[in-house]
């Protein structure tokens, strides 16, 4: 008993204690703030319902983008910072298709066909950019030390941003409005905006498809094998290069689809639009446990919800003015909080099993 206690004492460093104190303080603040807000009774149940829906819609987009980060981290152990530009390239290119459909009234007459085409264009563009990115910028550096691909990724991110700025201009474009997805569906006092429903359902379907692709198919299995051990999978006859390319393409497809959903929700595209969602999705991936696919989904949705509900729930009760300005601060505080108590993220790191 005493021995056990001593061993425990050796394992706990002063840093740990400080961290726990910080974590405990944040947690106490959150609980205090939430109780005060709920006690004040400023928001009705339908307000909370709205907050949750807004958060779910935003969060499912983060989740889709986070898939790209987490998949690439899984197979290459690198953070693909250019992924935010992969996300931007799809909807920005598809904008021109969407605008053409809108001008010719095709969008209003055949909204579903148009949307399908817009999604396909965006997903193919994003996947193509992701594929080229891996082929040109990352593959030649695969044997280099880990820091080098990271710097390359940042360089590639700037390169892509300014290529698209050169191609499509520095202003922003307004995405056309799809009429049948305007308005809302009401259930008593609760209601949901139609395009929020579209975003949530589409993102859920895509996430489910991605997950089962990774878990159930032969290619998915090969990707998981590569992420566990490249050399061993090479010896087992898996074409490692091809699997890495495939991973990038899958991440690109998810990002392209996320981009269109984002454009449908916010109706604006410009060359810098990927930056913030990219950072947020990366945060989501870390939050859920980078390299872990369900973790990325969970992290994304969690982050979206926190951003939407957090300022009202945690800060309103504390009497802080203009809490929505602190939205990002709350999101990143959550990240700190999660990492203090679970250093590998909510669901833990790595694609398949933990490596020594």
């Amino acid at each position: 008993m005493l021995k056990k206690w001593r061993r425990l004492k050796e394992r706990i460093t002063p840093t740990d204690i400080v961290m726990w104190v910080i974590g405990g303080a944040i947690l106490a603040l959150i609980i205090w703030g939430s109780t005060a807000t709920i006690a004040a009774g400023r928001y009705n149940s339908h307000h909370w319902f709205d907050f949750v829906i807004f958060g779910l819609a935003q969060g499912s987009i983060y989740a889709l983008i986070a898939m790209g980060y987490t998949l690439v981290y899984g197979v290459l152990r690198m953070i693909n910072f250019a992924h935010s530009e992969v996300f931007m390239s799809g909807p920005y290119t598809a904008y021109f298709v969407a605008a053409a459909f809108y001008r010719s009234d095709f969008l209003d007459q055949h909204p579903f066909i148009s949307l399908l085409v817009i999604f396909l264009v965006a997903m193919i563009t994003s996947a193509g950019i992701a594929f080229l990115l891996e082929r040109i910028a990352y593959r030649p550096l695969r044997a280099a030390p880990r820091l080098i691909p990271l710097i390359t990724a940042i360089g590639a991110s700037f390169f892509l941003q300014y290529v698209f700025r050169g191609l499509y201009g520095s202003g922003f474009q307004a995405y056309p409005v799809v009429k049948i997805f305007e308005g809302e569906w009401a259930f008593g006092e609760f209601r949901i905006l139609r395009f929020h429903a579209l975003v949530i359902v589409a993102a859920a379907l895509l996430l489910a498809a991605l997950y089962s692709f990774i878990q159930r198919t032969r290619i998915g299995k090969a990707i998981r094998a590569v992420s566990e051990d490249k050399e061993a999978s090479y010896m087992m006859g898996i074409d490692v290069d091809k699997m890495i390319s495939t991973t990038f393409v899958i991440g690109g497809l998810a990002a392209g689809a996320a981009g269109v959903l984002y454009a449908l929700m916010f109706k604006q595209v410009h060359f810098f639009m990927g930056f913030i969602p990219g950072i947020k999705a990366f945060t989501a991936a870390v939050l859920g446990g980078i390299g872990n696919i369900p973790g990325a989904m969970l992290g994304g949705i969690f982050l979206g919800l926190i951003e939407s509900v957090g300022p009202s729930l945690f800060l309103d009760g504390l009497g802080i003015i203009a809490p929505y300005q602190l939205k990002d601060a709350i999101a990143f505080t959550m990240l700190v909080l999660v990492l203090i108590f679970r250093p590998t993220g909510i669901l833990g790191e790595r694609l398949a099993v933990k490596k020594a």
Binding site: G171, F172, A322, K327
Partner: protein
């Protein structure tokens, strides 16, 4: 030996530099610029010429260009050289642009910046290098406040101070729209925060209630949560004097939030631009803007518009082209006043003298009215009107040209 030579060399350099600076100081307190015969007079503009708020910078850039053209491209026999530096409409961009300009000794004077957040860190950097700057569109009260500090001594502006604009917006809401409850949203920028505060203060003074003073980040896209929060206070009017990207998102998302379907919307001069109509689409119809009153501008404005149309093939993109024209004319006049001609055809311009000449501008007949600078650099003749956006404006992407209400 080598080391000794090196030391000697360094010593000589130091001595010669200090001699130069001493001799310079005897002529002008903070230095002067010598422009040789045939060399251009370099005036640097630091504007937002890229990104979502590029319309603001492009608009003022054109104003300056037309002013230079009206001067025949020449000042005292020297060609005018204009250079443009992007500022990004944020503090970091303003600081970077100002640092770059400060390092260029050929710059005689600067025009800019566009957004108040850029001027706050940027103007002191320029003034440290002895460059006076005249802004055509920084409206935040802080920049010409008596408490602003000596580092802003080289700063002037030809546009209105937001103490005026915020009050006009509040008066319009109370007197014309007869609303009692209003909410404000700012984006943390110096401009928006102060303008929203002035509005709220005047609105309360006139007997209204402010239900919420919210804030967003300029890069935010999902405004529905914050709007839902605002809706709990049941305002009849929302004033959000912010910039185009976030302003577009708010305008689009307001009507989707329960309880805000009938709320009146009002923005300020920062989003009074066709680019804002692009961002907000049809949801901008019926919304109000406070902005400089074009119809009260001087007679020369009409021919300015004709030149603008001829040169750029379109109508102005934002409200500050005329202020930029006036700022440029003010700088030109001050240079003409203080430049000393040398016998070899060169020009010598004292930096302190130029700054003092700018501050001494009185009763200059500008496009925007009578330009007279006070001792804190407020030079405008502020005339603010309230505009209402029609379906036609949004469809054709042109701003309304006549205000619907004036104080």
């Amino acid at each position: 030996m080598k080391r000794f030579l090196m030391m000697l060399f360094v010593l000589v350099m130091v001595v010669s530099f200090s001699v130069i600076s001493v001799t310079a100081q005897t002529k002008d307190k903070i230095g002067e610029i010598k422009i040789k015969k045939g060399e251009p007079i370099h005036i640097a503009c630091w504007f937002v010429i890229a990104g979502p708020d590029a319309s603001l910078g492009t608009d003022t850039k054109r104003g300056v260009e037309i002013a230079a053209e009206d001067k025949g491209g020449k000042l005292l026999g020297h060609p005018i050289k204009l250079s443009f530096q992007d500022t990004g409409c944020n503090a970091e961009g303003g600081q970077a642009a100002a640092t770059k300009l400060a390092a260029d000794p050929t710059i005689v004077a600067a025009i800019g910046s566009n957004c108040s957040s850029e001027a706050k860190p940027g103007a002191p950097i320029l003034w440290k290098a002895g460059i006076a700057t005249v802004s055509p569109s920084n409206t935040a009260p802080y920049l010409t406040d008596p408490k602003r500090g000596p580092e802003y001594d080289g700063y002037l502006r030809t546009c209105h101070n937001d103490k005026v604009q915020g009050a006009v917006a509040a008066e319009f809401a109370i007197k014309q729209l007869k609303v009692k409850k209003a909410a404000t949203i700012h984006d943390g920028s110096v401009y928006a925060e102060q303008l929203a505060a002035v509005f709220a203060e005047t609105f309360k003074k006139l007997g209204g209630t402010i239900t919420a003073q919210e804030a967003v980040a300029p890069t935010d896209t999902d405004m529905r949560p914050v709007l839902t929060k605002i809706a709990t206070g049941k305002p009849e009017f929302i004033y959000y004097p912010i910039f185009i990207a976030a302003g577009g998102h708010i305008t689009r998302q307001v009507k989707e939030v329960k309880g805000l379907e009938k709320v009146a919307l009002m923005g300020a001069d920062g989003i009074f631009s066709p680019d804002f109509y692009k961002a907000a689409g049809e949801t901008a119809i019926g919304m109000y803007h406070s902005s400089p009153d074009f119809s009260a501008f001087a007679g020369g404005y009409k021919s300015f518009l004709e030149k603008h149309q001829k040169k750029y093939g379109e109508k102005p993109l934002a409200p500050f082209h005329a202020h930029a024209y006036d700022a440029a004319m003010m700088v030109f006049a001050a240079i003409e006043k203080v430049a000393k001609k040398g016998s070899d055809g060169s020009l010598t311009i004292g930096r302190q003298a130029l700054r003092d000449a700018l501050y001494a501008t009185k009763n200059m007949k500008g496009l925007t009215g009578n330009i007279s600078c006070d001792k804190y650099g407020d030079c405008a003749d502020p005339k603010i009107g309230v505009y209402k956006t029609t379906a036609d404006n949004v469809k054709k992407l042109v701003m309304p040209d006549k205000p619907i209400w004036k104080p």
